[in-house]
Subunit: 132 residues, 2 copies
């Protein structure tokens, strides 16, 4: 049996997006479904790419940068020169992800301090009220 394929509706249901969205991604060359007559047939590759697209979006990346990023994924083969370039780009991307994660953890730490302080104040007030 060959690789499973998906209609536009199936992929939409699975990832909770609208057909408009998938057609838009195709127009922007993020997805490249094949055709059965007029109808789009999405392959495993499209499905995998869609996953990456949606994750990229959650990280706040633009579709255009996600597109470049996907192309970067694709060039896993190619010559030594291409692979070397790929690794460089990938490491740059890793740095960006690391920075974002660090910033996130800073924000989490700050927020935790505020939560702790507020909860401490709350228990002080509770103790005071109990003492009366």
């Amino acid at each position: 049996m060959s690789d499973p394929t998906y209609s536009i509706g199936e992929l939409c249901a699975e990832f909770d997006v609208t057909p408009r969205t998938l057609r838009f991604y195709e127009q922007r060359e993020l997805l490249t479904p094949i055709r059965d007559g007029q109808r789009r047939i999405f392959t495993q590759r499209d499905r995998a790419r869609l996953k990456l697209i949606l994750r990229g979006k959650r990280f706040g990346f633009s579709l255009e940068s996600i597109r470049q990023w996907l192309n970067l994924y694709d060039l896993g083969d190619g010559g030594v020169t291409q692979m070397t370039t790929w690794v460089e780009n990938a490491k740059t991307q890793m740095g960006a992800l690391r920075d974002q994660r660090d910033e996130l953890e800073d924000a989490m730490a700050e927020l935790q301090v505020l939560i702790d302080e507020t909860e401490a104040e709350l228990s002080r007030r509770a103790a005071k009220r109990a003492a009366e």
Copy 2:
């Protein structure tokens, strides 16, 4: 000496944003500069809020959700009920940040695997070439 204040140009230079941006944030009630005649005077509070705004943006939050988030920050005082509500909201936000961080780390791990594989392939090819 009292708290330092900033002109719109000063804050723009410091945070690398345009005046239009700060006026826009004021209109959306994310900043509340006071006035010297017509001119805006930004206080320490505005500066602190701007920092949070820009960080929120880097995390992909909308200005509207950042606004609510800032107001949430402000209500560090207020009654016990308000504080309790605040803590609940803050914990929800913490969960969201945690999820995002976890997703980021998953992505980083995946990417690292690809990098490692590609580098391994590169060194295999280098060894092969050296053997000839």
